[in-house]
Symmetry: D2
Subunit: 139 residues, 4 copies
């Protein structure tokens, strides 16, 4: 059961994480298992050569994991990233970056999400991340 | 295009990695994208409490990644693990451990595989690993 | 303040983890910051070629992290590994494997240790791991 | 033997990575083993609450690893990040962020660096990263 939908997540980000919002991504799908984001790359995200920079991909991976956890826990949660592991496997092609996060575990204390980042083509995986969040004790 | 099938991989392991063979797993499926292994747990793999130990899961993750790379490269390759990252997300239930490795990247110098380890149920993920192998230069 | 010394850790391992004990390592030093283990390699640990196998190094990294945490928390704790990330950087030379674990964090819920594995020479780093343990709530 | 000193690295960054330069850090020390950077945090780096954001720490870890590798390889190299693993262990205190990268391995094909990020106090570790770069073949 999700506690937040895409509009609720958008409002939460706008109120609490203006820097995440400034990245300029859209949430394109959300269900209990996964969330999909799409980043229309702009000059600010790019390395010389026109591809999305590593730091932008890491930020997107962290953000996507955060949003799928938040959708489950609701807006009171103050989950914090404890670990992020990312493999860069292919240079992104120009064009939008598609990011999909899936929960591997949603426990009482730890949540782990898997994140795939890629281009338009299904086989165009650019990066794969696993992200761990610590979930604060319930009040 | 695969260069080795399951019987060829079995012979290669028996000849070169008797310790891997001693784990007692079966290869149950292989195609270009993935390999599936099944470990019938025995007393030697277990922690007190009857679940598969972490070291056995790490060994299985490394082995599954190695085998899918080997199936693509053929028996001359001497790929070596350079990185293994594993998240343990759920205590394994008693019974066989199913291990599936998929290639995230098969480059000339680096191969990266994702490995899922779990029980009989589709949602019973016990551990998730990413494993990086360095591929030696072609002779 | 440590709650267990080397003899207490040895007894705890012998009683609870006979498989860890079967690896045949010695604890050579322990203080609040670190623990040092030494593994006299035997045929059972070796790959063809005479070097310590990756699975043995992963097991040693996990064990060393566990022991430094256990020394701090005392024998009632049931900490479990949630993540292990290991980089293999150099083939081990023949001879004893020296393993040193240091705490990066000892929180109420999570502990993170860094582990270095290497040979006799100070610069002979063979592998570097970070290991995360989840610490159960106090009863 | 280093092929670039701090002024040479500064010129290289200014010419090739204006975004890295825009972070506003200083290189404060460099020798064969390590590089030290210091980031004077400004509003642009901060999360609500006044601490350095995770993405800024990931970017600093990646940058520090890149610079110690570049110092060894010289400006012709086009090393690319293949993996970054970061543990966030403590919320940064306000004030400058100190970042130290050390080489774990500098091979012909792969370089691995360990990065520590923290505040003024020696024991104030905020994050620990390992970063792998792929080194292109020599021309």
């Amino acid at each position: 059961m999700l506690r937040m939908d895409i509009p609720a997540l958008e409002r939460f980000l706008a109120d609490n994480f203006p820097q995440a919002e400034a990245l300029g991504f859209q949430m394109t799908a959300l269900d209990e298992e996964h969330i999909a984001l799409s980043l229309t790359t702009s000059a600010a995200h790019l390395r010389p050569g026109g591809t999305v920079s590593g730091p932008v991909m890491m930020t997107m991976a962290d953000t996507a994991a955060y949003l799928i956890i938040l959708a489950h826990l609701g807006p009171v949660a103050l989950a914090v990233t404890t670990n992020l592991n990312i493999h860069f496997v292919r240079k992104p092609a120009p064009g939008p970056l598609h990011v999909t996060a899936r929960l591997l575990k949603l426990g009482k204390r730890i949540a782990v999400a898997e994140v795939r980042l890629g281009g338009e083509q299904a086989d165009a995986l650019c990066a794969h991340a696993t992200v761990t969040y610590s979930i604060p004790p319930q009040r």
